[in-house]
Symmetry: C3
Subunit: 349 residues, 3 copies
């Protein structure tokens, strides 16, 4: 595919207006900080003008009215135009996922496959249904009675277990497992007795699941990933969790069983949320935080155990003063006692 464009030519493709003048050749794209002379970058708004002036980018996507005397295209929303430019550089999907069902795919005669592309060695079970426009990479397993909507992209080695439901335009990266059994046992006289996990997973429209994510099926009912939510690599979602719409869970986050997350919840990496908790709409949980009680809507939490971020930051700052504070405390105790106080309560511990 084409990998170099004159700026003037890009203006039309990105729905913008070329500021006549220099017309450099654009071969790449990067943020203001990282861009070099061949790169197109973008200036989100006037507050980024200083960064733009300092940037080595060869060309810019800018909003109307921005006073930047550099080769530019004026667009309504610079970041959206930038994403469109990146999309121009994506490989041809028909090369990555050749149209049609590969001859080696094992499709059960009772499955319905309207997919645009089914890769080599896919396995589709009885009763499964795959919507039009879906692209499945190699070695994808779709279990019995699982349903995929339209225009999903399922990368190599993904396992969708029996009965699970995916909406439209869902993207699932390589190696992810949707619908493994939840981790449920009852303590019996001879060890743990497995509780059959007879529920399913429902992944709603426009969700993206990273690589090597696990979403467990419900014990009964559904584990739900709400529309538009994005889960990064190696995220784990336990059985009976309900995640709202437009959440973003960063890599290696783990959500224990039966939690409910509202809409627009954001977690940093390696966050843990204990079981049966509620996290309100728009809550933000800092990286590595350990949530052990309900989180109100729009709260920002940090730390282990997680606290409101302002309190957590105060504690973190105070901690660095703690060793000296203990010495000061000791000094105060001694001051009050005279020399005999040297054998104070600290030694008594």
């Amino acid at each position: 595919m084409q990998q170099a464009w004159r700026l003037s030519e890009l203006a039309g493709r990105l729905g913008g207006h070329w500021r006549e003048g220099a017309d450099p050749l654009v071969t790449g794209a990067a943020s203001l900080a990282d861009a070099g002379p061949g790169d197109l970058s973008f200036v989100a708004g006037p507050e980024r003008l200083a960064e733009a002036l300092a940037s080595a980018a060869g060309a810019f996507l800018v909003p109307a009215g921005l006073d930047l005397d550099r080769p530019s295209i004026v667009v309504d929303r610079p970041y959206e135009a930038f994403a469109r430019f990146l999309a121009l550089r994506l490989p041809d999907p028909d090369r990555l996922y050749p149209p049609g069902v590969h001859a080696t795919a094992v499709i059960h005669p009772e499955a319905e496959v309207a997919a645009g592309s089914v890769g080599p060695y896919c396995v589709v079970g009885a009763g499964a249904r795959i919507g039009a426009g879906c692209r499945l990479g190699p070695h994808v397993t779709v279990g019995c009675d699982a349903v995929l909507g339209r225009d999903c992209v399922i990368h190599a080695q993904v396992t969708i277990r029996e009965g699970c439901l995916l909406g439209d335009r869902v993207i699932v990266h390589a190696g992810t497992v949707v619908g493994a059994d939840g981790f449920g046992y009852l303590a019996g006289p001879n060890g743990q007795v497995k509780i059959p996990q007879v529920g399913i997973v429902e992944v709603q429209d426009d969700v993206e699941l990273g690589a090597l994510v696990t979403i467990d099926r419900a014990t009964t009912g559904r584990t739900v990933i709400g529309a538009g939510s994005k889960l990064d690599n190696q995220v784990h979602v336990a059985h009976n969790v309900r995640i709202g719409r437009h959440c973003a869970l960063s890599a290696q986050t783990g959500i224990a069983g039966s939690c409910t997350l509202g809409n627009g919840v954001i977690t940093g990496g390696q966050v843990g949320i204990a079981d049966h908790l509620e996290v309100g709409d728009g809550a933000r949980i800092g990286a590595q935080a350990g949530v052990i009680k309900d989180v109100p809507a729009r709260a920002a939490m940090f730390g282990y155990p997680a606290l409101d971020f302002q309190e957590s930051f105060r504690i973190t700052a105070a901690l660095r003063r703690l060793p000296a504070a203990l010495a000061r405390l000791r000094a105060l105790e001694n001051r009050g006692r005279g020399p005999a106080g040297a054998a104070g309560p600290e030694q008594g511990k």
Copy 2:
């Protein structure tokens, strides 16, 4: 399969006694808190009576003598009967794993496969042995000389590396890797030199491994997962670890090399245990804890670094008072010094 039952009919199937009266149609199952009118729930004992009275469940499994005036089946152990009810609702295994060896499976002529079901595109190496009644999903790889006992269930995309041993009734969820090389290097003059990992993994009877678990082979000897232990999704077990019987390790826990866990050890999610430690029988490690020294039997640990949970909770509570305590300490220092003390030791830091 059948998905609705009269309560009176269920009584016989679950080995219980229907309290004559209302005979509702049961279509689902849930905990007391989550159940609705079509659901069967269970009351573990009299201590749950208030919850049962508040539950919207349509029917209950109850122990003898419980005074609950709702549609019920009396059983010896309500939770076991509940698990049996869930099992009634599992899909037909012959539909999920059609009996026989799929035509596309690549079985080495020197392998012995007595399995009940080998899915499409499985690969079984030279010298491997798979016991009677095993069910293998699609794309399972069983390496050379690996041995699976009887009645194992191995889900899609699992890799069992060469020489590893699984007992009877082992369940392995999708994408899990048993027997990858341990992380062992020696510092050499030109960087790290790989230490060949020539040991194996032994997974004993009745173990269940979640999805995307990794259990590394030993450098020499065996990495062992003891009988009846359950490992949740994304757990990592390093080389030469020995895990006892009936342990339960929650999701994303990591056990570093050469640790020994006793029997009945339980970890919360995202726990880390440093290398070469011993964790005694029945120890419980709270979620996200970081264990950096040996743990006595039956201890309960929490925090990072992990401490006895009572001490850890005291510290956690004290931390929230720390910022104010520093101010109080300052006030005390000033009190003793008069106005000149304002430039106290805190500024001197």
Copy 3:
């Protein structure tokens, strides 16, 4: 393969000198602490003499001049000779990875495969190139235009996405995903808008990636894993990260987007490093640490948030004294006030 050797025979194979005398049969290998009578162990230097004397090993690899009156081979570098002995015990690679391209592999006609072994059901896309001597296990997917150098070992179920580059002698363990999309979105009026990820991953010579690792492709440009670096199981490396040479990242570590790690960086297990940070050459990050600012070269960091390990250890030690210190602070306050002071500021909180 042979699994027992006379010590005198091993001396020649390991490039050492047998100290004549006892010539036991060696059937295994282990560290000094773990070894038994059939095992060969090694003594790195005189500082390990006491351990060696206490060891139950049947034979030893020792440096010249070590005064150990036990069956021994004298070698220049005991640990290197020990690794060579382990290598003798590795299974025959031609048995694990039979030479040639398996008949079931789907190789695109526009791919170039010089590999020594391509396992069953591998899928190699258009434009991909696989160097001489590579061994691919079953179910490996190599995307369009991906390039593997010489003598790589790629275990079962690995996914190398389109365009990614692997150097020579790279080892990738089972289930790992190289080149999944980075986690990048722009907040739009109707939720998150995906930023196309058009960069690649470059994995340099002599890198080893554990099982179920994820390395995301760059948004633009390259995510880089430097030559000789080793990543343990379940490590996650986000888009646009640059990892230097000879780093060692322990299991379940996560590196967020656009971080730069120098050469020789070592992390313990479950470490998290926040996005856009720089970690200097030779830095060491303790297990479970959470790095939230740049780390100088050769620093040793610990804790959450991560601090210099000496400060972190001082704080950790001080924390255990904190609950008692609060009581002592209270006592001091009361001492200064007399009985009326009992309702001091602590109650006022």
